[in-house]
Amino acid sequence: MNTPTDKTLQSRRRFLENISRVAGGATLYGIGLGLYSQQATSLPSQSLRPPGVVNESDFLSACVRCGLCVRDCPYDTLKLSRLGDAVALGTPYFDARKIPCEMCEDIPCVKACPTGALDPAMQNIDDARMGLAVLIDQESCIAFQGLRCEVCFNVCPLANKAISLNRTHNQRTGKHALIVPVIHSDACTGCGKCEHACILEEAAIKVLPARLAKGELGHHYRLGWKEKKKAGESLVTPDLPHKYNLPEGADYDYEGEGLIPAPGNNDSPFNKSAIDRLNEGLK
């Protein structure tokens, strides 16, 4: 066996020194980059991704920050994040309150993407899920004050599917209706036209990332009426019709006429007319 010469010992030592320096340096850089990336990849809730982004982390690993989607966006909706913006550097996003997505039928942004970060499998723009509109402030939405507005409903590209109008009672006046927008998450694409069009100083309807906008029911929950529908019948002893404790022959119609006296029996304590009853005095 050859004994190593001074020279080979020296070069071996230098080699080991260099390797350990590079490894040490790499560790330091790695720690720095790792920590920084934790913060830098969090997406502000008002910043929405283009159509075709299914999940943020998959998107971030596929997007090469080329801006081709931004270039092909005919409405200048999409922006590329610049240094100083809160969105991951160089990635496309839009702010619905400024310029919403116009939901082009040919989806040019998705077609322009060279990496598939915007999923080319998405053929129909109605399948996009950029976020979910939420009527976030009922206290300022004028529809909830009893005023007619319905602007968000009218601009919605999927009106009656993504936003519908619901009539309820106006408890303040006691005699008017409230006509309020209701959003349906199964159809809303998150295009943001509602948020953009909201007539308030600060929109009462906002598009949020689905992760913020949606709740999730505990998976152990079983909703009786759904289970009943699935099974086609009640899973427990069926409900008996409610039995009212009423005078012979009388009936009660819930959500209808109310008390129905037995036919031919007119000895109700109440007269037909409330005014007549008052006028009778305390006889």
Binding site: N18, R21, V22, A23, G24, G25, A26, T27, L28, Y29, G30, L33, G34, Y36, S37, A40, T41, S57, D58, L60, S61, A62, C63, V64, R65, C66, G67, L68, V70, R71, D72, K79, L80, S81, R82, L83, G84, D85, A88, L89, G90, A112, C113, P114, T115, G116, P120
Partner: protein
Amino acid sequence: MASSVTSSKKAGLMAVKNKGWIKAHKWLLLRRLNQIFILSLFLMGPVFGIWLVKGNMSSSLILDTLSLTDPFVFIQSLLTGNVAEATALVGALIVFGFYALVGGRVYCSWVCPINIITDIADWFYRKLNSKSPVSLSKNNRYALLLAIFVVTVVSGSMVWELVNPVTMLQRELVFTMGFSWLVILAIFIVDAFISRRAWCGRFCPMGAFYGLLGRVSLIRVNALNKSACNDCMDCYVVCPEPQVIKPVLKKGDDLNPVILAGNCTNCGRCIDICSEDVFSLGMRSAKFIDVKNNND
């Protein structure tokens, strides 16, 4: 020999005297023109509405047909575990093949806009006759490159593209300018006053990546005419990676006269600055003996 060595301030005077200013700056001028030409191709669209090239240097679409992707950015994307579309893969392979042909770090010296900044910083450095207070190892860039690859795999996210000044600057030049100019200013200050050639030669992992490609690339600078060398050392002053010149200027006909070191950027400044025309561009297989035969 010491008497023939010019001070770094005066490097190039002999070349200008012997060859004229234009010839002594030929490759430099061509590089600057090329860098500006490429940027203006990208800017023609947004400024004049002439869309010859769309996107940016990370990925672009040329004449609505040819799609190119930067292989360094592409590899980061692959390392996150993402399987990209064929468009990006083909685009990255084309660019990879191109630089394998013309020299890996040709990207650095002929394309990258930061090179303009760091070259100016180095010009300041030389004119001020500065001494760097901080000197960093040239291997630092490999440490950073390694860290980037590891963290990209572990985190599943393209971490370097969150800070990469190279892609950041040219993206913001072509799209809208954010605060990337502050990063560029920082790079300039470090290069000019704190640590010479720190960015391109010590930090930039993109340069390190293309340097690795340069180790096998076809077109290389050679010193076939090294017998004419008068040891003026001007090439060492202007070369952004002076360590690559040393092996080819060693005396001896049996030594390979081609710069094989991957970190040679094929910038051609040594060709410009040499008053005796020692250097030229050629194939990596260029043989010393050929020139001798030609000269004879």
